[in-house]
Amino acid sequence: MPAVQETVARVREIDVDKYKYGFTTDIESVRAPKGLNEETVRFISAKKGEPDWLLDWRLEAYRRWITMQEPTWANVVHPKIDFQDLYYYSAPKSTEGPKSLADVDPELLETYAKLGIPLAEQKLLAGVKESRVAVDAVFDSVSVVTTFKEELAKAGVIFCSVSEAVKTHPELVRKYLGSVVPITDNFYATLNSAVFSDGSFVYVPPGVRCPMELSTYFRINAENTGQFERTLIIADKGAYVSYLEGCTAPMRDENQLHAAVVELVALDDAEIKYSTVQNWYPGDKHGKGGIYNFVTKRGDCRGARAKISWTQVETGSAITWKYPSCILRGDGSRGEFYSIAISNGYQQVDSGTKMIHLGKDTSSRIISKGIAAGHSNNTYRGLVSAHRRASNARNFTNCDSLLIGDKCGAHTVPYIEAKNASATFEHEATTSKISDDQLFYCLSRGLSAEEAVALIVNGFVRDVLQHLPMEFMAETQKLIGISLEGSVG
């Protein structure tokens, strides 16, 4: 058996079944009755004590959603999802009350500790100043705790859960919610608008550079529960913020639905850097279970010279359907998309980005690295378009795919539309395999097959790795190891 196949075989055995985060937490929860109808929407809204305008907004989305069909264009196959067989709201019972760290159920804190998320501020304070990260932790449908809130408030930064922002900053939420991803956008985004549970809200006022990295950790725990978080980040004129998102879920035989919406708004000269390490449960080695991840992420460079940069590391989920995009509306605005998508086992990834050039002198850059192993299927799907008014639009796209073994697939589907003749769009794409000769070279120097694959893959994704915040870099390198080499540790 050639070395590559053997490696793949070993990886499949060890890695996929030893998903590190596959524990469940025993915790009492409050759930909405199973299924989805207007009552469910009202239940969620009432639980959160929402104002009427938001309930109406949700209901409008719901009414729209029941007329919509699931999209079928993605290169993924899965049994039909029974949307009536899901719970749309689940909250740990103990969080129905005041929300300071001391009030959080110790079981929950332990869960986050197991995930390596340092929730307790003391721990963070003990660390070096630069490495401090403010965390918003979302458990099933609700945000359980947000750290560093006061310190951020001093800088004028609002960082809290969306439900809280609805109460404390309704004017901001009302102004921006749905302004980037309208409730009519697409099947999953519309569903999310109807039933979204919680998520993070960030507002950085004009001229403020957010003093620390902001971070959200999402965890699906309850069974048969969809997670529909909604994140809204606004960087006002000249503001800067870097935001990290991490996700995990327990191992379950049934597939669990995750349909999030993330909206970013960058006004004049503002910059938002959004990084994701997505490590939802990918399913077992036979392809059973795992998260269906249908996510709509979009950033709007609404002001001149605004900049939005998406960096994503996708290693989890049974199915990933995700296209973090940038609308380059402001003149001179810039969008970036850096992506590492690793698939193994029976995972299916259909991911990429859209760069919509509307303003003058806008530029965008796409670097995508897809790694497929096992029986997985990995598709890059990207759109770069220039509007008639978008003179001097520039895009550079580079899509590289790496295949490990010969039972997986990698595909590149680029769409390019230039309605303005001055647009310069460059596209490069390569597909390569880890060769037996490369592997043997590493083995002959004493590396194990797992170390060799991890080393080669880390080399392959280097261009993207460099764009990750320090906090995520080491984690990602390790994750690449775990996803592909199986050296659990």
């Binding site: 058996m1 000769d437 590493c442 083995l443 002959s444 120097r445 004493g446 590396l447 170390e451």
Partner: protein, 258 residues
Amino acid sequence: MLEIKNLHVNVDGREILKGLDLTLPAGEVHAIMGPNGSGKSTLAYVLAGKQDYEVTAGSVTWKGEDLLAMAPSERAAAGVFLAFQYPMEIPGVATMTFLRTAVNAVRKARGEPELSTPDFLRLVREKAKLLKIDPEMLKRPLNVGFSGGEKKRNEILQMALLEPALCVLDETDSGLDIDAVRIVAEGVNALRSPDRAMLVITHYQRLLDYIVPDRVHVLSDGRVARSGGAELALELEESGYAEFGEATRGEAKSGAAA
């Protein structure tokens, strides 16, 4: 130290080594010469444990153990090192990172602690200097865009860092300029020691002026056709492989037709 007996090896169903015998005692350097396609690289690969090289008969014993039963990385840990005729490129992986990963992998397998960053850097700089390798080059991705000679020197650098007990050099001198041959040979000579054995595959007597071998073996048609002292290499330089030629050429032809 290394004992090869009646080694038969198939590649893609074709027999390349056809009963090769060779004994390499500790402390000795043996040169292997022979016409193109005679099986020199095949022998080197089999010693390092490359897949798809099927041993159909014979044995290889290394320090009393069955070398053929070991996985490639176990052989590396047991002190076997192959300087490749065509070193591989690994894009995106800094040469320094690769060296460090290799050194620590081998140390770990030998039950030694990993080297600290400063210790490792000191070691690399010292060895690189001997081989006249610019430390800047070590920041570049492994072998990517390296000249032929740089790749070969990088092989010897790895050898110096891993301190193997069996060094197999496959045409390390090919592609080296005259000065580089001398530098590499000095690097190799520095590693000569009573508990280390070397197998130097080469086409040129020139290398053997610097690395004087204890024995020279001529490989032809998958077997050792003749063995002798260092003077055998000189003789071959004069007369070529004519006396071994017919069989090999016939074989090569049938191989090409197949």
